[in-house]
Symmetry: C2
Subunit: 417 residues, 2 copies
């Protein structure tokens, strides 16, 4: 059998990830690779660390990607911290809280969960009360839940965790690069970001950061890999247990990302090129400007959705700026609408999971996908598709509402996106 060259359709991707990639990032991936210990490459690794610190708003020494998709970062951080029977508190407000619980259970933690309805977030005091009651080693929580479009305030939880000597580990996969995330100020001990959402880099790396409280635990569990350890390494006496994974052992990953450059995996060269370019574009735009851009396009999208006669799911004050959840009107087949939008307009929006499946659509406004022409196209496509499906929206209102929003936008002239 002969295979042809790769041919792909052009899509407008308005899901909560993966989202469209800036052409400059795509071009960076086509740069020829160099060796993993080439000084020119290790210099790029150092630059990526320094750019990540800026995006994480942190002075942490450790800020580097795990070579896997976003959830690999969650698993790497959690399994490097959890020893058999450690108590972990996980406040769950959507699918990705369940994922954190699942990862912790698989790695032998005693998992305690508190749950609120999908579409709500926690009052920080609820989490703090549970933390005081359970006295866990770790509180692990999602920042932006893409499954429900809600954002969890973290600052008070961070302060309380620090005061009670509990580690706060945050899944910020959906927020980093799109919404304000302040690792140091909020006293987050470890945080995991994603590439394929607001950073607009393809999926395949999970940038993480952690502080010296986390590192102290890593040092207690440190083991250098068999086959490359020295006599000195072998003589190292551990007070903790060896981490249950080789691939996700952060004590080894940080040796590789440190001047020691101790060989572990072979770094994913082209993905590092992409991440570096993606981070460069974030810093060039400016964090504040980028967060504002996300808010502004969200505003135009929401104005359009509501003008059409559709309702948002969830409370506005808990809304994640980068994901807009729309209630599927009664009598409309949500999957048929999604599939027609993709087929006829080349526009992709998302469904949801678990209790929300079939009840809401999720529209992402993330990174490079978060552009005026995309907002206007998704509104036009959604309206026309709903009309086709027999639903009666307020015809022609959505685009006027969005255009009005953009008209008032002081960023309008300045921002390329």
């Amino acid at each position: 059998m002969r295979y042809t060259e790769l041919v792909t359709p052009v899509r407008t991707i308005m899901t909560p990830g993966p989202v469209e990639v800036d052409p400059r990032v795509l071009r960076a991936m086509s740069i020829p690779i160099i060796g993993q210990f080439d000084p020119a490459f290790t210099a790029i690794m150092d630059e990526v660390m320094s750019m990540l610190r800026a995006v994480f708003q942190s002075k942490n020494q450790w800020a580097y990607p795990v070579d896997g998709t976003s959830r690999s970062g969650n698993e790497a951080v959690l399994c490097s911290m959890i020893e058999q029977g450690d108590k972990v508190l996980i406040p769950i407000f959507g699918r990705f809280g369940h994922l954190l619980a699942e990862i912790c259970r698989r790695h032998g933690a005693e998992v305690h969960t508190i749950e609120c309805a999908w579409g709500e977030v926690f009052d920080p005091d609820e989490v703090i009360a549970a933390m005081k009651r359970i006295s866990p080693k770790i509180v692990a929580i999602v920042h932006g839940e893409t499954s429900t479009g809600c954002i969890q305030p973290l600052k008070e939880i961070g302060y309380a965790c620090r005061a009670h000597d509990c580690l706060l580990i945050v899944d910020a996969v959906a927020t980093i690069g799109g919404v304000d995330v302040r690792v140091d100020e909020w006293m987050i001990d470890a945080l995991i970001g994603g590439t394929q959402k607001c950073l607009s880099v393809p999926s395949g790396l999970a940038p993480i950061t952690y502080n010296d409280r986390i590192e102290a635990i890593l040092q207690k569990r440190k083991k250098v890999e068999e086959g490359i350890e020295t006599e000195l390494d072998r003589a190292n006496i551990r007070s903790g247990t060896v981490i249950g994974s080789n691939y996700f052992d952060l004590s080894m990953l940080q040796d590789y990302w440190s001047p020691r450059r101790l060989n572990h995996h072979t770094e994913a060269t082209s993905m590092i090129y992409a991440l570096r370019e993606g981070l460069r574009l974030v810093l060039e735009e400016g964090l504040e400007e980028r967060f504002n851009r996300h808010k502004w396009h969200e505003k135009a999208l929401v104005a359009g959705i509501e003008a059409m006669g559709l309702s948002l799911f969830g409370r506005k004050e808990q809304k994640l700026a980068t994901v807009t959840c729309v209630k599927i009107p009664p009598g409309v087949d949500g999957e048929s609408v999604r599939s027609m939008m993709l087929k006829e307009f080349g526009v992709e929006i998302a469904s949801s999971f678990g209790p929300l499946h079939g009840k809401i659509w999720r529209i992402g406004t993330m990174g490079y996908s978060c552009r005026k022409e995309n907002i206007l196209l998704v509104l036009a496509a959604l309206e026309a598709t709903l009309v086709w499906h027999g639903f009666a929206p307020n015809r022609g209102e959505a685009l006027q509402a969005a255009l009005n929003c953009y008209q008032e936008n002081p960023m309008n002239e300045k921002s390329l996106l």
Copy 2:
């Protein structure tokens, strides 16, 4: 701080990986991405599976990449098979055998090893005798050891493992796409390949394949992820223990790569594009032709090395065609030579690990790096650098020997590489 666009030096990469990437693969990575559940993308996933089967020379249903670097494939397969206390036999003949042992220990296996000197491989009978003595659930072994440049014959081991109902798991990271690997014929139950070596795709995915003996164990341990499981999934009664990792749980990965398309991670879109293009080029060249190309360039390289007056490390009949280990002559500082070759000629060769560190150089001839001009350049650069370091090679002989080799080469006219 302002960061400039990414600027990288041009390198001739003659290490055992990562190696140079075909420009067509690099271009494929700059194709705009599409969503992970877009029918256009799931069709690409299916194509990749079918191409992998061809490269693995297997009819296995399951052939897909794990989203991580090569060792993530080893860990995924091993941790999906190992339950606490399971016996695993690992014949070690270099660094990557130690890695297999380390991974198995971290996942709770009772590890039994047999070792031979670095630079040797096992007589299959030794492995078979140990297997009969220990009666392990699994024999895990490396096919091509890049740390020593040796290749382990597998066929007899495969037959014996099958006859004794023992699983054979093979790390073929360094051989797949460069050297003959016959998964079905050799009765290999699971095999892990690498992208950044003979497939000449950047690091970041680990293509694996496994048969129904492996799948039967996965089915016993199967657990659908919390947050997306149905009532039916919850009612599933397991006869095995849940796999100790979410990210590496092959029972979930295969659900994602199957028509069920049950969401797990977000597939690394651009890396999948690269893998598809890399596999397409392998199949376009033809497996037999590709293996012959690797052998022919190895022959020219070895002729040049020996004509220069240098000696190979290891026995020729056990030599891995894609890695040539050269003894560092007495009195020569191996690292200084490597660094001068990189700095002055832009040519990268590798050192080795453990007992061989400082004793040998390793020159890779893999995939797209395995080209005539690269062979000639590495010989020229090595000779000139050795002269500069005061070693007296037979001046001018290496290139003549290699050119003679190419002159006799019947492939010379046909092969682009």
